[in-house]
């Protein structure tokens, strides 16, 4: 077990190192490097100046050397400076990561809260009206483009009905009399993003829960429980349901990266100040330092969280032996 955990941790570390190196290399392929950008804002610079600046910032060294230097500065806690926001990256990224985490977590909990009951009930009555409805619902849910769903929600709830704000994270420049009011305000802003992020996940989870529950209902221990005369309620909820949920944890581990992917789109549509929007905005604004740092940090987070969920699986299901 411990050797398995160790191996998985090492794998994740290698993965993070590789992702950061590839990302660093790709950023050097983006149109326009920092010096070219300086040049465009200050046409008086001579070629000698350009050479000197390249020397100064170490841009004339090979990518690998630059990467190692960059990792060294990161290790010292210096994430660099943002060109567009004019502040050190450390000052922006923390709040953004937290915002994204809140959005993704609420969306995950919400999707599970909807999907588990739907999946279980449709598994209990196969080929019933409910089952057909759930199956069509999950198919349409999987297929909906989440960014467009977001636009639709804005159109209905913000533009036509005016019930909820169309975008943003919180009311700007508002004074809140209590922290409850602040949470209420944040809550209003997060409803639509959560809805648009969840629909696809619900579709996925429902199918998975349904098939897992159907499989469990056909196992020997469920038949035994029925045979010894337990009530249907006990058979379903005490025996089948709890066992059917175990594989669902795997799907949670796998869905972390999907949710983060979806969060980037949702954040962009709703102008929600999360790290996904930060990555997108900084790439669009040629702010490569921010793009690189936020991309690498958030991808590392996703990988680590998936690892944790994966390891938890072994804790919850003692039948799994890692050898």
């Amino acid at each position: 077990m411990s050797s398995y955990i160790l191996r998985r941790i090492i794998q994740t570390m290698i993965m993070i190192a590789l992702v950061s190196y590839v990302c660093f290399f790709l950023m050097s392929l983006m149109p326009g490097d920092p010096i070219e950008l300086m040049l465009s804002s200050n046409p008086k610079m001579t070629t000698a100046d350009v050479e000197r600046l390249r020397e100064l910032y170490g841009l004339n060294q090979p990518a690998t050397t630059r990467y190692i230097n960059w990792v060294k500065t990161i290790a010292h806690g210096d994430l660099g400076y943002s060109r567009t926001y004019r502040v050190p990256v450390t000052e922006i990224i923390g709040a953004r990561l937290l915002n994204s985490f809140i959005l993704s977590l609420i969306a995950l909990i919400f999707s599970l809260a909807i999907a588990i009951p739907l999946g279980v009930f449709s598994a209990l009555r196969p080929n019933s009206k409910l089952d057909t409805f759930v199956s069509i619902f999950s198919f349409t849910g999987i297929s909906v483009p989440s960014f467009w769903l977001g636009l639709l929600l804005i159109l209905i709830f913000a533009v036509k009905l005016g019930w909820l704000p169309a975008g943003g994270t919180e009311t700007i420049d508002a004074e809140f009399s209590s922290s409850w009011r602040y949470f209420w305000d944040r809550g209003l802003y997060i409803i639509l993003p959560v809805l648009s992020l969840s629909l696809q996940q619900i579709g996925r989870f429902v199918r998975f829960v349904r098939s897992s529950m159907r499989e469990t209902l056909q196992t020997d221990f469920v038949r035994t429980a029925k045979a010894k005369g337990l009530s249907m309620h006990d058979v379903i909820w005490k025996h089948a349901f709890r066992n059917a949920l175990i594989p669902v944890i795997t799907i949670i581990a796998l869905s972390i990266s999907t949710i983060f992917s979806g969060a980037l789109l949702t954040e962009t549509v709703f102008a929600y100040q999360g790290v996904g929007k930060l990555i997108y905005d900084s790439i669009m604004a040629n702010d490569y330092n921010v793009a690189m740092v936020s991309f690498i940090i958030s991808v590392s987070m996703v990988l680590i969280m998936s690892l944790v969920a994966d390891l938890l699986y072994g804790v919850i299901d003692p039948r799994i032996s890692y050898s």
Partner: protein, 381 residues
């Protein structure tokens, strides 16, 4: 006694029993026909997907738009140059009948500056056989917009049609190519096992664990032409389309590879593989001639499901402005500035997304139908 039926006919029959899959198939076939005849429709209606008309922005569905005055003038100048004789005759007729109070030289220009209905009315009063081509020309001055126009006055309906070509084309192409890559990688890993298998599957798992949208965004933002060897491949009008296909293929072969490896692992132990090997077949012969036909059913299902997935990713990237670049229309880039447009015209924001949704649902239903039809457990004989 019943006739023995072939596997294929059983699968087809089973597939057509899945109502939603049949609906999906009908939708996809009709969309494909429409998309393929986009050029014909464009010629027939006289609407060009890229022609802009600033005076007719954000039109509601089912409205007519008049072409801008300067464009009409250009057209008539062209026409006069092509048919100088006819032009003279008609101009003379206009002045003679005193339909318009102008000189002979200005008659045609004055005529086209009127509104389209009036032009038709005036032309009816002239009884010269030469007016025919002028009449057809004047018909193009007024365009009918089934789904209205977008923010620069382009017809939404025709752009949706051309977008269908691009979006569905990219989706199908990506699904096919990534199925091929997935088959090769999964096949090699499953067939040779050992270190090759471990290595290939590590890469597959690693790529699978990455959040795909941010990764695609980073890759889409880089200037691929800076990479040697790709410059000649990606160029010309459809540069962004090719770039999109390559990018999506790069990151969508992994599920297929896993699937194929799984089936190959069991298949390679079967007697027919042993027989082929005993007869001295090469590895490549075994993989392509003996193993491929056995996994083709699984591949078919994952290709159908993959099309939907690829369409969604293409749409998302184009929506973000990193995918297919205008003027080439795709469903995703038609939604590009939907966030601002939504306040002015609801239709521009709704229609492309609706088409994406319908198409992806249809592909998924077809995939589901195929899967059920091929599953021996579900065959009702």
């Amino acid at each position: 006694m019943d006739h023995a039926r072939s596997m294929r006919s059983m699968i087809i029959e089973e597939f057509f029993r899945h109502k939603l899959a049949v609906v999906g198939l009908v939708v996809i076939v009709s969309l494909t026909i429409l998309a393929l005849s986009a050029d014909l429709i464009s010629d027939w209606t006289g609407i060009d997907p890229n022609s802009q008309n600033v005076s007719a922005r954000y039109l509601e569905p089912f409205t007519y738009a008049e072409e801008a005055a300067d464009q009409r003038e250009n057209k008539i100048t062209e026409w006069i140059k092509d048919n100088p004789e006819n032009a003279k005759k008609i101009s003379a007729a206009i002045v003679e009948k005193q339909l318009l109070n102008v000189t002979v030289d200005d008659a045609l220009y004055e005529l086209v500056s009127k509104n389209p209905e009036e032009i038709q009315k005036l032309l009816k009063q002239i009884d010269l056989p030469e007016k025919k081509s002028l009449q057809t020309l004047s018909k193009t001055f007024s365009t009918f917009h089934l789904f209205g126009t977008d923010e620069i006055g382009r017809d939404v309906a025709i752009r949706l049609l051309y977008g269908t070509r691009v979006s569905m084309g990219v989706g199908v192409l990506v699904a096919l190519v990534s199925a091929l890559i997935g088959f090769l990688i999964g096949g090699i890993a499953g067939f040779y096992q050992g270190i090759i298998d471990t290595l290939l599957m590590r890469v597959t798992d690693a790529l699978l664990s990455l959040p795909i949208v941010p990764v695609l965004i980073v890759f889409a933002a880089i200037d691929l032409t800076k990479l040697p060897g790709l410059k000649s491949l990606i160029s010309g009008e459809f540069e962004s389309v090719f770039k999109m296909v390559i990018l999506l293929c790069l990151f969508s072969w992994m599920p297929v590879a896993r699937l194929v490896r799984g089936s190959i692992l069991t298949l390679r132990e079967r007697e027919f593989v042993l027989a082929a090997r005993t007869l001295g077949a090469k590895d490549s012969t075994i993989i392509f001639r003996h193993l491929l036909p056995n996994v083709i059913a699984t591949l078919l299902v994952s290709v159908t499901l993959g099309v939907g997935e690829s369409i969604l990713f293409e749409a998302a990237l184009s929506f973000l402005g990193l995918g297919i670049m205008p003027p080439t229309a795709s469903w995703g880039n038609m939604l590009n500035n939907a966030q601002e447009v939504i306040y002015k015209s609801v239709w521009i924001a709704i229609l492309p997304g609706l088409l994406i949704w319908i198409t992806v649902v249809s592909f998924n239903f077809i995939g589901d139908g195929l899967q059920e039809a091929m599953d021996p457990k579900s065959v009702k004989r």
